[in-house]
C-alpha cells in the first residue's frame, strides 16, 4: 500500500471561524479554532478513518478538504495540485473527484426533489458547465445504473426522499456521491444516524464500492468499532489537532497517545469476560472551548500523564514506528 502515490495531501491546515461582536457594525473579537494545524495523506484506494469527540473538528476537516469552507492557512493537494489556490472553474473540474456523503440522510436530500433529480443533479451541473459530455438519455441511464449499484430499484426514481427509510436514503446519498465517478469520498459520519443493523449494510456497501471502483475514503466517525472495520489507517483528532495516526491494526493493538488510550478504553468489548476486566481511563473535565490560542499541548488540561514540559510546548507529530505517528512528549526526544 505504501508505494502508492498520495491522492490527497493535507498540509498544516488551519481553519478558524471568526467570532463577531457589535450591534450594527460587526468586528472580529476572536476565533473558533475548528482546525488548528493538521497534516495527513490519503493514498489511492485506501480508507483513512478520523475519530474524535464531538466538536473536535472532524466534520470541518471534511468540509475544508471539499473547499466548502475556505481554509485560513495551509494547503490541500489533490493529485499534487493545490485546491486552496485554484480558480472556481479549476476547482470544479478537480472536485469532480472529491465527493461527500453526509451524516444525516434526512437533511442531506432535498425533500422536494425526486430521487432522479437528486442523483442526476451533479451530472446536470457538470454537463451544463461543459465539464462533462452526456446526453439526457445517458444521464437517465446513469441514474438507473447508480441506483442499482447502491442496491435500490430503479422504479423508485420518481419517489421523494420521505418515502424511503434512513438506510435507503443514505444509499441515495451514496449514489449521488458516485455519480461523477470520484476518486475519493469524504464520508462524514455516514452511519452514525442509522440503526446498528443498517450500519453494517451501509458499511459493507461502501467496502464493496471501494473494491469495485478503487475509491479512497476519508471516513469520519466517533464509533471506534466502525472505524476499525472500515479503515486501513486511522487518525485521532482532539481539539482541532491530530494526536495520532497509524495503520488501523497498529493503532488498535498499541495506542500510544494518552488520549487514544483513553478513547480505546472507553469502547466496550463484546466479550463479557474481557469486558469485566477492562480497565477504563476516565478523563477529567470536558473538551475545552477551542476559542483561545494555546502554547502547550492541546490535551494538557485532561491528560492523565501530563508533565510540566507539556504545558508550554506544543508536541509535533513524530514518526515512532513506520506508519505510526504520535504527537506527544512522552515519546522521542524533547525540544526537537
Amino acid at each position: 500500500m505504501s508505494n502508492k502515490q498520495p491522492l490527497l495531501e493535507v498540509k498544516d491546515v488551519k481553519l478558524h471561524f471568526p467570532i463577531e461582536d457589535g450591534v450594527l457594525f460587526k468586528r472580529q473579537v476572536g476565533a473558533i479554532r475548528a482546525i488548528d494545524g493538521i497534516s495527513f495523506t490519503v493514498r489511492e484506494g485506501e480508507t483513512l478513518g478520523i475519530v474524535g469527540e464531538s466538536g473536535c473538528g472532524k466534520s470541518t476537516t471534511a468540509r475544508a478538504i471539499a473547499q466548502l469552507h475556505p481554509v485560513t492557512e495551509g494547503n490541500i493537494y489533490f493529485e499534487g495540485k493545490d485546491l486552496t489556490k485554484m480558480s472556481t472553474k479549476e476547482l470544479l473540474a478537480t472536485r469532480k473527484n472529491i465527493q461527500m456523503v453526509f451524516q444525516d440522510p434526512y437533511a442531506s436530500l432535498n425533500p422536494r426533489m425526486t430521487v432522479r433529480t437528486i442523483i442526476s443533479e451533479p451530472l446536470n451541473i457538470y454537463v451544463k458547465r461543459r465539464l462533462l459530455e452526456m446526453s439526457q438519455t445517458e444521464i437517465e441511464n446513469r441514474v438507473e445504473e447508480l441506483m442499482e449499484i447502491v442496491g435500490l430499484s430503479r422504479f423508485y426514481k420518481n419517489r421523494y426522499p420521505h418515502e424511503f427509510s434512513g438506510g435507503q436514503r443514505q444509499r441515495i446519498g451514496i449514489a449521488r456521491a458516485l455519480a461523477l465517478n470520484p476518486k475519493i469520498i469524504l464520508a462524514d459520519e455516514p452511519v452514525s444516524a442509522l440503526d446498528v443493523s443498517i450500519q453494517s449494510q451501509i458499511l459493507n456497501l461502501l467496502k464493496d464500492l471501494q473494491k469495485e471502483f478503487g475509491l479512497a475514503y476519508v471516513f469520519i466517525a466517533h464509533d471506534l468499532a466502525v472505524i476499525e472495520y472500515i479503515s486501513n489507517r486511522v487518525a485521532v483528532m482532539y481539539l482541532g489537532k491530530l494526536v495520532e495516526i497509524a495503520d488501523s491494526v497498529l493503532l488498535y493493538k498499541n495506542p500510544m497517545h494518552p488520549y487514544t488510550q483513553a478513547l480505546m478504553s472507553a469502547a466496550p468489548i463484546p466479550d463479557p469476560q474481557i469486558e469485566k476486566n477492562r480497565k477504563r481511563i476516565i478523563l477529567k473535565g470536558d473538551v475545552p472551548s477551542p476559542d483561545k490560542e494555546r502554547i502547550g499541548c492541546y490535551f494538557y488540561d485532561r491528560c492523565p500523564k501530563k508533565m510540566e514540559y507539556c504545558k508550554t510546548h506544543i508536541p509535533p507529530m513524530k514518526d515512532l514506528v513506520k506508519g505510526h505517528q504520535v504527537a506527544c512528549w512522552l515519546y522521542g526526544k524533547k525540544g526537537e
Partner: protein, 373 residues
C-alpha cells in the same frame, strides 16, 4: 381477480415513473372544488379576453330610453306557455309615476325581441387589431339587458365584462410585481445575511408600520391627474405591490436562513451549483407550496385592494371601467334600494375571490408531496 391485480400493478408502475408535474396534476384533480373553481376562473378570463365580442353592447353606450332598467330574462316560453325555438326577451317601456316621481319599467308582452347569435351591434376594436360589429349574441334592436342598466342606461353585463378586464388582470400583474420584489429581496436578505439583511429588515419594518389606507391615499394622489387610464392602472398596481411584497419577503428570508445551512444545500454547493441554481432549485422549491398558496391567496387581496381604492375614489376613475368603479355607483342607499342590480359587480368580486382561494388550496395540497396522495 387476476385482471384486477394486473391493472393495480400497472397503475403502481405508472405512479413510480410519473414526473413531478404529473403527480401534482393528478392530485389537483382530486380536489373537486378547486377544479371547479379553476374552470370557473378560466371561463372568467376567457370571457374577459374576448370581452368585446362576448359582451352584447359597448360598455360606454348610454341610452336615455333605458335608465336604471331592471335585469331581464331570456325566455323560451311566452305568456301563453308556448315554446319558441328561438329565445327572446320581452320589450320594456319606462313609465313615469307622477305621484312617486319614480320611473318604473313595464314589461310589454306583445313586443318580443328574438335573440340571435353573431348579431350585428355596436362596433368595437377586436384586440386593437381590426374593427368589427359582430357580437356573440344579442337582439337586433337595443333591448336586452340581462343584468339591468345603470343610471345612464348602459348595459351592466357589458360593463362587468369590460370591468373584469382591469379588475381581473390588476391582481395578476400586481402579484407578479410584488412576488418578484418579495422573493428577490427576501432571498437576498436571507441568503447573504449580515449587513444587507439588517438593512432590508429595517426597511420592511418601516414600510409595514405605515397604515395602509393613508399610504394608498398619499400614493394615489401622487399619480398625476393627466395620466391616461392605462398609466393610472399601472400606477395603482405598483402602489399595491409596493406594500404587498414585505410579508412575503419576510417569509422567504426566514426560510432561506433556515435552509441554507442544510446538508442538501452543502451537497449542491459541493457539486458546483451556482447561487442562482441553489436559490431557485434547492431553496425555493422547498417552500413552493407555501409560495403558491400565498400567491393565489394574495390575488384576491389585490383585486379587493383595487376595488376598495376605486370604491373610495382613489383608484381608477370613470371613464375607466373596473368592478370597483362600478361599485362606486352603489354608494348611495337610495340607489341601492331602487336599483339593487348594480351590486352585480360585487357578486363577481366575491365569486372570483372565493374561486382563487379554492384554487390556491388545491394547488397547495397538490404541490406538497408530504400529504398523502
Amino acid at each position: 381477480m387476476i385482471e384486477k391485480n394486473k391493472t393495480e400493478k400497472i397503475s403502481a408502475e405508472k405512479l413510480n415513473i410519473a414526473s413531478q408535474w404529473k403527480l401534482m396534476r393528478w392530485k389537483f384533480y382530486r380536489h373537486k372544488v378547486a377544479v371547479f373553481s379553476l374552470i370557473l376562473l378560466s371561463f372568467f378570463y376567457f370571457v374577459v379576453i374576448f370581452g368585446g365580442f362576448i359582451s352584447p353592447y359597448n360598455a360606454r353606450q348610454n341610452d336615455i330610453r333605458y335608465k336604471n332598467a331592471p335585469p331581464q330574462r331570456i325566455r323560451f316560453f311566452d305568456e301563453d306557455g308556448k315554446f319558441h325555438f328561438r329565445p327572446f326577451v320581452y320589450g320594456i317601456e319606462a313609465e313615469f309615476n307622477d305621484k312617486t316621481f319614480q320611473t318604473l319599467y313595464i314589461r310589454k308582452t306583445d313586443v318580443k325581441h328574438p335573440v340571435y347569435l353573431f348579431v350585428k351591434g355596436d362596433p368595437y376594436q377586436f384586440w386593437g387589431l381590426f374593427t368589427t360589429d359582430r357580437h356573440l349574441f344579442g337582439t337586433e334592436e337595443r333591448a336586452m339587458f340581462l343584468m339591468g342598466t345603470d343610471r345612464m342606461g348602459r348595459d351592466l353585463l357589458s360593463r362587468i365584462i369590460y370591468g373584469g378586464r382591469l379588475s381581473l388582470t390588476i391582481g395578476l400583474v400586481g402579484i407578479a410585481c410584488s412576488f418578484l420584489l418579495g422573493i428577490t429581496i427576501g432571498g437576498i436578505s436571507g441568503y447573504y445575511g449580515g449587513r444587507i439583511d439588517r438593512f432590508i429588515q429595517r426597511t420592511i419594518e418601516t414600510i409595514r408600520s405605515i397604515p395602509t389606507i393613508p399610504l394608498w391615499m398619499v400614493l394615489s394622489i401622487a399619480l398625476p391627474p393627466y395620466w391616461s387610464v392605462v398609466k393610472v392602472y399601472f400606477g395603482i398596481v405598483i402602489i399595491l405591490s409596493l406594500i404587498g411584497w414585505t410579508g412575503l419577503a419576510r417569509v422567504v428570508r426566514g426560510k432561506f436562513m433556515a435552509l441554507r445551512k442544510e446538508d442538501f444545500v452543502m451537497a449542491a454547493i459541493l457539486n458546483g451549483a451556482s447561487e442562482k441554481k441553489i436559490i431557485f432549485q434547492q431553496l425555493l422549491p422547498s417552500f413552493s407550496s407555501h409560495i403558491i398558496a400565498s400567491l393565489t391567496l394574495s390575488v384576491p387581496g389585490m383585486i379587493l385592494g383595487e376595488t376598495a381604492l376605486s370604491f373610495l375614489g382613489l383608484g381608477l376613475q370613470a371613464p375607466a371601467i373596473s368592478w370597483g368603479v362600478l361599485l362606486k355607483d352603489a354608494q348611495q342607499i337610495r340607489v341601492l334600494a331602487n336599483t339593487p342590480w348594480i351590486l352585480f359587480p360585487g357578486l363577481f368580486v366575491i365569486i372570483t375571490i372565493l374561486a382563487f382561494n379554492f384554487v390556491g388550496d388545491g394547488i397547495r395540497d397538490a404541490a406538497d408531496p408530504y400529504s398523502a396522495i
